[in-house]
């Protein structure tokens, strides 16, 4: 596969035996309106699109499902377990999501703290083991802790999703070293999920060598979500290309780019 930067050869992203054309995945929450969401997803070039499982509003059932606006033939629906604070709840939501009949992938979230929305890694591991046993392809939203990431891989996750920074914070990649270490040590794909704020964050994240990136608020809450979606698409491609190109070594002192010889007296 060739990225938009034509000289860079790359392998496609494969998760749980399925290949995806884009390394950027996007959410569907918090958009000002559905038309903007549809156009932003299109501009992002993402195939994987996340959705949440919630009660049908019994009074206004006609308008509410996000599937009225998305074509499941063109996108890959990745259901999440957002809002779940226990393994049992996350398992329940994942089973309901699978019953909708699209695929057996789940973006597993078990949240441990309301203020930071940081994951409960014990609950996450517990839910992962059950869901893997039931045949789910689990993409686990976790923190940037290597040992947790290793345990999640051992438990059978199809992908591990360390955060860049807390969900919806837009603080960017706070711990590139830890994310790089996780990528170096794991065999399953590493997708950074949450915390990206703008295009440079996406680019820096992809430069760490991770396999992909998932974002929602950075696009949905931008002043112009469609334009930001396009910026994110380009930044993801640029960051990946830069990683594959291999950056120059960092130096603490300057080195001239122009010849030092041949100067006039």
């Amino acid at each position: 596969m060739t990225t938009a930067v034509e000289t860079v050869r790359d392998e496609p992203l494969t998760i749980g035996g399925r290949t995806f054309p884009s390394r950027l995945m996007v959410g569907t929450g918090k958009y000002p309106d559905m038309d903007t969401m549809v156009r932003a997803i299109e501009a992002s070039g993402a195939e994987v699109v996340t959705v949440a499982v919630r009660r049908v509003n019994l009074d206004r059932s006609k308008e509410s499902s996000v599937l009225h606006f998305l074509d499941p033939k063109k996108i890959f629906l990745l259901a999440n377990t957002a809002g779940c604070y226990t393994a049992a709840d996350a398992i329940r939501y994942a089973r309901l999501a699978r019953e909708a009949g699209f695929n057996d992938f789940v973006k597993l979230e078990v949240i441990g703290d309301e203020e930071t929305l940081l994951p409960d890694v014990a609950g996450l591991l517990e839910a992962t083991k059950v869901l893997v046993q039931e045949g789910f392809k689990v993409l686990a939203y976790t923190n940037e802790d290597l040992v947790t990431a290793l345990r999640l891989e051992d438990a059978g996750c199809a992908a591990v999703m360390p955060l860049a920074s807390p969900i919806g914070s837009g603080l960017g990649l706070l711990n590139p070293f830890s994310v790089r270490t996780i990528k170096r040590r794991l065999h399953v794909p590493v997708i950074v999920d949450a915390g990206v704020g703008t295009a440079s964050d996406a680019c820096v994240t992809m430069e760490q060598g991770v396999d992909g990136i998932l974002m929602n608020t950075a696009i949905a809450a931008a002043q112009d979500p469609v334009a930001m979606a396009q910026a994110m698409r380009l930044a993801t491609i640029a960051g990946r290309a830069a990683f594959l190109a291999g950056r120059m070594p960092r130096r603490e002192v300057a080195m001239p780019s122009s010849p030092t010889r041949g100067m006039l007296d």
Binding site: G27, T28, G29, K30, Y31, M37, T50, V51, A52, V53, R54, R55, V56, L58, S61, S64, S65, V66, L67, L77, A79, N80, A82, R95, L96, A97, E99, A100, I167, G168, A194, L214, M215, N216, T217
Partner: protein
């Protein structure tokens, strides 16, 4: 008789199936997933499962999320 649907008390016809309940609420069975007393009921079985007084029914679908 009274059942609890998505946390709300609702009256349904005695002897109604889950499919009847969806019909009463004007919901397309292809657009929702049904949980009946904590057990998921697959679409083909919705017409076979009868609802009893006090049952807890959850009707869910996909909404925007990250």
């Amino acid at each position: 008789m009274d059942v609890v649907i998505n946390g709300e008390h609702k009256r349904v016809t005695p002897g109604a199936s889950l499919l009847d309940v969806l019909s009463q609420l004007q919901l397309d069975p292809r657009a929702v997933v049904v949980e009946h007393n904590r057990r998921i009921v697959r679409r083909p079985a919705l017409g076979d499962v009868k609802v009893s007084e006090g049952d807890a029914i959850e009707l869910v679908h996909f909404v925007g999320g990250g």
